[in-house]
């Protein structure tokens, strides 16, 4: 049970890590626009088709 003395700080540290990542992402503007990026996912097909037409299949 004494492991708890170790586990709790570790758990909190992991949590803090994610909070820091979240703050970094927010400051970088990752959450400024939540609608458009979902739509851009659709363009992947268009990009691939274009690449195929050019005859040079590029990895996206």
């Amino acid at each position: 049970m004494n492991l708890l003395y170790l586990i709790l700080p570790i758990a909190l540290l992991i949590g803090a890590g994610f909070v820091v990542a979240f703050i970094w992402a927010t400051r970088k503007g990752q959450f400024d626009d939540l609608e458009t990026p979902a739509m851009r996912a659709l363009f992947e097909d268009a990009r691939r088709a274009e690449a195929a037409e050019d005859g040079t299949e590029k990895s996206a």
């Binding site: 708890l4 003395y5 709790l8 949590g15 979240f22 703050i23 503007g29 939540l34 268009a46």
Partner: protein, 824 residues
């Protein structure tokens, strides 16, 4: 691109086996029969779609059609065909263009016509369409596209034209520090919510362990560790994301106003200090799970409301961005489109029919009918000729004129009126919200109860006094109470926006929920804002002759005359001569015909003033009905009167009746002639005493100010002339087609013409206030139960832990289940 635009396009491939394809190849709407060209492979429903489809194919972007979601609501494309020359003007660059770190230029456009994911793809393909553009990023939600391009390689006007041709007419957006600050603020709020949420979650987990210990026992060492850890986390939550509540409470204390932050701060403070004390002592309860959850939920509620309000603000701001701010300046023999801000006194500008005058000036060439309604409320356009003054904001309704600018910017009549609006917006007292009013009482009651509680327990069981008092303060913390209003308001504003009603704040909804004095502008609000032939007295022969003559004039009344007398064969007129501001003379079927104002007829020797004659009586009738008279004379003697008026909106009477039934007093404030306004009273069922005409913008302002001292005044208007009054009223509402100034001054905006939106707004406000009241009642109910239990000393910490989130959840679901603005 290697592909040629002639290759078969996916659009055509999608509908191959339909020779008589009658759906538009671009927007999939049915093509009108008249526009079908049998020889073409692709059919288009309108020139806009054709232009756009051709531009798309020429740029090798036909993939667009495979991306277009067929389920989306179809929308025909619109292009303006403008040349956007103003974008290359140095003064434009100063206000709208910035240089990026890499030395490229960047600007932001608001684009019309964006409606689906394919639009995002197409807009972001801009670098492929216009060489020199490095990147285009579209923010779909806000319809804003950020364009980055290389200086010198391409002009901004070329970029703007390309967007226009693709069916997304761009409008410049001012890049101020304000926007940057707002973006920072939004990010900061999000970080606060994230931190508060993470802390609340972790503290909750630790609390579960502690509660488990409550029932099954726990080693003292673990217990101390859990308590000290959650104390640290709670401290962090309160002094980082939670400090906003203490700042608000401090502000409320300093200004001696009631604010919801005050009871929240007391609850948070009591919870934190009480818990800290007990942690140090190692006995009693800790309340950190309640405290941290409270901070998190309150921040979420607050941010949701702010985002919805900001959206409404943005939508209104974008509407005003849609009004073009350019003018066509004459430079020698050429005409150049320049931003209005670049105009200087002495410049000559061209104003065409349908455009508004860019700055105050004197006409130096031509003459035209000017619609002054936005400035004066006068519904009949006035003729202005060479040498006469025209104000910025008035609309040219008939012919091209050249105007020499005599005053610009803030010195113009519109500029002065805007100054009035700003003065009023600044002086306006903030509206006190129901929840804030309530919170004043709430704090007082809770503190009194806490005092009684402490005294009582000190008498009976001194050891438990602190414990029970802190428990009371925490359970009384108005978590649900504070969520009650923001959530209900956020849901209501969001719904209202989808129904074409933009509301700038929650206070507005609260204010509109109870009846008061409703003042309406006439032109454009109650009436349709256009001229119509409403009465004719005289022979058919005279009417036919008048129509023959009027069909040769572009005057607004002449057009209304022709439109209102469509039947019968058209006679032809000869020797037509038009007197500016008077009327027409000519010959029809061999007879001399005069059509014009009474004074014009009198000048030409037609006798109208003999008492008792048909002519004199007829004129009186037309005037008494509030109509504008136009007389017709055949061979020098009177032959008929036509009466023109601005028709009432079809829904005006029904809407006003509905509002009256709700207890609203209704009045009309108009700049139009008092007789015209008085004539409205009867068909609308209004008291003639409250229908005031002939009011200047300053008169309106004074009237509203005087009335606002006695009661709740709601003003509805659309013009620049209403703007100051809108700002002075408790709530100002601008209606469809309103001038930019009125948009800025108003608290709410109706995007639909007519008054139906107004009744819907009032009904929605009433329902929203109902939801707010229900929420407040629910949360107060929870608080009452909690406080009673705490005072009785029965409040088990587990009970408190359940009661707190439960009350919040009830309020959340109650807010989002309500539909204050149902579908029409």
């Amino acid at each position: 691109m290697s592909r040629s635009p002639l290759e078969s396009t996916p659009a055509a491939a999608q509908q191959p086996a339909r020779p008589a394809a009658t759906d538009c190849a671009h927007c999939k709407l049915p093509v009108p029969a008249a526009l079908i060209r049998p020889e073409d492979e692709a059919q288009y429903c309108c020139p806009g779609c054709r232009t756009v489809a051709e531009a798309i194919q020429a740029s090798g972007l036909s993939w667009y059609y495979q991306l277009v979601d067929q389920g989306e609501e179809a929308q025909p494309a619109r292009t303006t065909g403008r040349d956007y020359a103003e974008c290359d003007d140095p003064s434009f660059a100063e206000a709208h263009v910035r240089t990026t770190a890499r030395g490229d230029l960047e600007t932001v456009f608001y684009v019309e016509g964006v409606h689906c994911a394919a639009c995002v793809w197409l807009v972001e393909k801009l670098p492929q369409v216009v060489p020199g553009v490095r990147e285009a990023r579209l923010d779909f939600g806000r319809r804003l596209v950020t364009v980055r391009w290389q200086e010198g390689v391409v002009n901004l006007s070329q970029i703007a034209r390309a967007l226009d041709r693709l069916g997304y007419p761009p409008h410049p957006v001012r890049l101020g520090s304000e926007q940057l600050l707002r973006r920072e603020e939004e990010r900061r709020q999000l970080i606060h919510i994230g931190v508060a949420g993470a802390i609340a979650g972790n503290v909750m987990l630790i609390a579960f362990a502690l509660y488990g210990g409550w029932f099954h026992g726990m080693e003292e060492g673990f217990r101390a560790m859990f308590r000290w850890t959650s104390l640290g986390l709670a401290l962090l939550a309160v002094i980082w994301p939670g400090r906003v509540f203490f700042r608000g409470a401090w502000g409320a204390l300093r200004t001696r106003t009631a604010h919801m932050d005050l009871p929240i701060a007391i609850g948070l403070g009591a919870g934190l200090l009480g818990g800290a004390w007990n942690t140090v002592q190692g006995v009693g309860e800790v309340y950190f799970d309640s405290v941290t959850t409270l901070v998190f939920l309150l921040l979420v509620g607050r941010t949701l409301q702010e985002r919805q309000q900001r959206k409404a603000f943005d939508a209104v701001a974008m509407l005003s961005a849609l009004t073009p701010r350019t003018a066509r300046r004459l430079e020698g023999a050429t005409v150049r489109e320049v931003p209005q801000a670049a105009l200087r006194v002495g410049d000559r500008v061209e104003v065409r029919a349908g455009e508004s005058v860019p700055a105050d000036g004197r006409i130096v060439e031509g003459s035209a009918d000017f619609d002054l309604a936005l400035l004066t409320g006068e519904s009949v356009p006035e003729r202005r000729g060479v040498g006469e003054l025209v104000h910025a904001g008035t609309v040219d309704r008939s012919d091209r004129v050249v105007v020499e600018i005599v005053q610009t910017g803030a010195d113009t009549r519109v500029g002065q009126l805007m100054q009035l609006v700003e003065d009023h917006a600044r002086r306006r007292a903030p509206l006190v919200r129901l929840a804030d009013r309530l919170s004043g009482w709430f704090v007082a009651i809770v503190l009194v109860l806490a005092g009684i509680n402490a005294w009582w327990w000190a008498m009976s069981d001194p050891g438990m006094a602190l414990e029970h008092t802190v428990a009371l303060l925490i359970v009384a913390c108005p978590c649900a109470l504070a969520l009650a209003t923001p959530l209900a308001v956020a849901a209501a504003i969001g719904q209202a926006a989808t129904r074409g009603i933009l509301v700038k704040g929650g206070e507005v909804l609260e204010q509109l929920a109870q009846p008061g004095l409703l003042l309406l502008d006439k032109t454009g609000t109650l009436t349709e804002g256009r001229m119509e032939l409403q009465s004719w007295q005289g022979s058919d022969e005279a009417r036919a002759a008048a129509v023959a003559l009027e069909s040769r004039s572009s005057h607004v009344l002449a057009r209304a005359f022709v439109a209102g007398s469509a039947e019968g064969p058209m006679l032809s007129a000869e020797d037509v001569h038009e007197t500016v501001g008077g009327g027409l003379s000519g010959r029809v079927a061999g007879r001399a015909v005069l059509v014009g104002s009474p004074s014009f007829l009198a000048e030409h020797g037609v006798r109208l003033d003999e008492v008792g004659t048909e002519a004199a009586q007829g004129l009186e009738q037309v005037l008494a009905a509030g109509r504008t008279p136009v007389g017709v004379a055949l061979d020098g003697s009177w032959a008929g009167w036509a009466g023109f008026g601005d028709p009432l909106r079809a829904d005006a009477r029904a809407s006003l009746d509905a509002l009256r039934a709700r207890g609203w007093q209704i009045g009309v404030l108009s700049g139009d002639h008092p007789r015209v306004v008085a004539a409205l009273a009867d068909p609308l069922g209004l008291d003639p005493a409250v229908c005031r005409g002939g009011m200047s913008p300053e008169d309106k302002l004074q009237y509203v100010e005087a009335a606002a001292r006695e009661q709740r005044v709601v003003m509805v208007g659309d013009g620049v002339n209403d703007a100051a009054a809108l700002a002075a009223a408790r709530v100002g509402i601008a209606v469809h087609g309103g001038a930019e100034a009125s948009l800025a001054a108003a608290d709410a905006y109706l995007t639909e013409p007519g008054l139906a939106g107004l009744t819907r707004l009032f009904a929605g406000s009433r329902r929203t206030l109902g939801v707010i009241r229900r929420n407040l009642l629910l949360s107060l109910g929870y608080n009452t139960v909690g406080v009673s239990l705490a005072m009785a000393g029965l409040l088990h910490p587990v009970a408190a832990a359940i009661l707190m989130p439960l009350s919040s959840l009830t309020v959340v679901s109650s807010s989002y289940r309500a539909r204050p603005f149902p579908d029409a």
